[in-house]
Symmetry: C2
Subunit: 449 residues, 2 copies
């Protein structure tokens, strides 16, 4: 039972109580009512939602309750309250993309992943706040652990709503750091799968590094949401989509891990580094060999390859979205945020030849990284440089999120650390299309820490 | 000068008169007024447009005229009157996708390719009629060569508007046969490039075989439109986009060609086959060795591989678009055409496992085809089984368009044949990402025939 005025964020995993739905001890409708009570308590303080459709949510929860009662749930997440990042289309709510230029705009359809979630029986509460066009300009959501701080971005509202238990999972997207960073800052599990792994049709995060991801209350919830999406609508058209079992992959102890300090290490908080290093120590004690730039020349070479990852990512994204921002500027530049305008301006003169060189360079680095899979089960690093920074004018430093985005590989933020009384994630980075392996190791890490 | 009541369709190539714009002998504004006179004459009979924006078109032509006058055109196609298939988004006009479910719907942005065309200075006349969701349900456009006949589909209005000279080029799309077939039926040049070659963002033709293409009054016009798009917005995000020179590739005599009869041959009209065979005879006389299933076991094997191309294409498309048609059915099935409903129903039970097997099979066939490039410069076949059939209830047999769609390779329909007093295209099929080579050979074929 919830306390009437809960002040500390507390997540509400869904699969953990599925047995109660099966036995009839609890119903999705009751579960939703607790979500809505939390919404009422938290929303005025954190601003996680752009809009909600509560009558539809209640009706969906009612239907779900009937299915569980009849022993015929549509999926293990039938009835799960979910949030949809407002860069992703919904047929029953506007898709505003964090921009006044799309105030009230309607796609008149669901995105593929949203349709999949409906077909899996989930209960869509509303659209969660995104930064402007899923880039860097914040849109006011506050971190529930400390409302003077950013929740991170761009999946700001998804992270915040999951952190306080309004939703058990929420869709996010990531092209730079937009899933792992808010997950880290808000203390939920963040899963950015391999690029193309979840069908992006109807998501307006359109760059080639862009990826639909899941933020959730538990690793099991996150995996299940991803799995149920891909089972129904696949990955991006023409790709096999997320590969893996129909339930959370069993925990697997890694044979070897690599530490990737990346460009983020220099700006990481001392407390964050200390906890990470302690974690590495525990892993070694548990018998997991740890490679790093300090003891392994291949890892050192990879670190060097990744030094330019952020600028290279911005250049690729900049070319790919340039046409869009030109249109938006022509529509009404005064309705665009300063960060958005500055970035669009910075990459406005890129040429096709430069872009071709950039994606060739990215492919080279991806191949370099992929070779590591022969001798290593995954990489670990921080998910953010430390606690969510104070202030709402920035969504924080994105550096730690960049490598997996540039590489197009799966990454998870696991809420295992803390800094300044705020949550902080351990990040696990896996290999392309081996998402299930990454999640299996993440599961072991969660249990081992 | 145009005759006041032109009854025979006549195309108006744009690049062919570019010297007159440069010298000031003619202006894009005058060229547009002739377009609009043709629009007034033809549109009531052929129904090529869903909507137009003539004030914007006149203003754009005026600006273009000023640029030519100042000696500073934005591109060789600055001022070209173009049409945009109504499956592609435009910021100033609705995008209705041939469906009452999207009547008046606005994307509030241009598609990437549309923005590129604006930045190249072209004059967008309006949105051209597409079949329902760019699939098979016709939407009433008539063939200008015989208004009792279909113009083909799904790029119906694009083909018809180019055929009569309203537009010098128009954007189309193709996932099965939607560019080469209407080009063949209406007697214009159709160019479906390699898959991913032109940025599809903002086009609602979303399957993995889908491709944005160009229908135009000449090969030079068609190439230039494609080139100017890719120079500004690239191909699909993450791909290098259309490769080739900044002006029409020089005509190149092929060293060897292969005849691909494909599944379409059995249903082709006798007159169509006869003309094609005569063409083959002339090519042989010109010293081009011709391989075919009758004299070459590799070609025979390829023909066998392609026998199932249509069903395999429909299965891939069916899975990839299933979620979308489910949403449309839920919105209002009564607003969907019978052909659309039947096809959606047919592929409604596909599983992810089947889809994965299908795209694997497609990749295998693509690799099989690619191997042919070592010993052959391209393949020729008909672009359609014959003249556009009578009646508007069907857009005609798509078989000849399927191979290039399944294979993801460039294909051109060249208006070199006729059947029953109607135009008919010779189809040239090239190799992936070697679009310029295909166009160079097409150029030679146009000159040689």
């Amino acid at each position: 039972m919830l306390s009437p005025n809960q002040t500390k964020p507390m997540m509400r995993p869904y699969l953990a109580v599925a047995a109660e739905f099966a036995s009839g001890k609890q119903t999705p409708r009751q579960f939703l009512e607790d979500s809505l009570a939390l919404l009422e308590q938290w929303e005025p303080r954190i601003g996680a939602f752009v809009c909600t459709n509560l009558p539809a949510a209640r009706a969906a929860a009612e239907r779900s309750s009937e299915r569980w009662r009849a022993g015929k749930p549509l999926s293990p997440i039938d009835g799960m309250p979910v949030g949809i990042k407002d860069i992703i289309e919904t047929v029953d709510m506007p898709t505003e993309m964090g921009s006044a230029l799309f105030a009230g705009w309607r796609s008149e359809k669901d995105a593929a992943c949203v349709r999949a979630l409906r077909d899996a029986g989930t209960v869509i509460i509303g659209k969660t706040v995104t930064t402007e066009f899923a880039a860097s300009e914040p849109r006011g959501t506050r971190n529930p652990w400390d409302t003077a701080r950013t929740p991170g971005g761009s999946s700001s509202g998804s992270a915040a709503s999951v952190a306080v238990g309004i939703a058990s999972a929420a869709l996010g997207t990531q092209v730079i750091s937009s899933t792992v960073r808010p997950a880290s800052y808000c203390g939920c599990v963040g899963f950015k799968p391999s690029v193309n792994a979840l069908n992006r049709e109807g998501s307006h995060d359109i760059q080639s590094q862009s990826c639909t991801g899941v933020l959730g209350a538990s690793l099991a919830d996150v995996w299940q949401v991803a799995y149920e999406i891909v089972a129904r609508v696949g990955g991006d058209a023409g790709t096999p989509g997320l590969q893996g079992p129909e339930r959370l992959p069993a925990a697997k102890k890694p044979k070897t891990l690599a530490v990737l300090e990346t460009a983020g290490w220099d700006v990481a908080a001392a407390a964050a580094k200390a906890q990470f290093n302690e974690c590495v120590g525990r892993l070694k004690s548990a018998g997991v060999p740890i490679r790093s730039r300090h003891n392994d020349k291949d890892v050192a070479a990879l670190e060097n390859e990744l030094l330019n990852a952020t600028e290279l990512s911005h250049r690729c994204n900049g070319w790919e979205a340039r046409w869009f921002f030109r249109i938006m500027r022509d529509r009404d530049a005064s309705k665009l945020g300063r960060i958005t305008l500055d970035r669009a301006h910075k990459y406005d003169n890129l040429t096709l030849a430069e872009y071709r060189a950039d994606i060739k360079e990215r492919a080279r680095i991806r191949a370099f990284y992929a070779a590591l899979a022969k001798s290593c089960d995954g990489c670990i690093t921080l998910a953010a440089p430390g606690a969510a920074p104070e202030g709402l004018a920035s969504t924080g430093n994105p550096e730690f999120g960049v490598p997996s985005s540039l590489l197009g590989v799966p990454a998870l933020s696991l809420p295992l650390f803390e800094d300044a009384g705020m949550p902080l994630g351990l990040q696990l980075i896996g290999f392309f299309d081996a998402d299930a392996d990454a999640v299996a190791i993440a599961s072991w890490l969660m249990a081992a820490q």
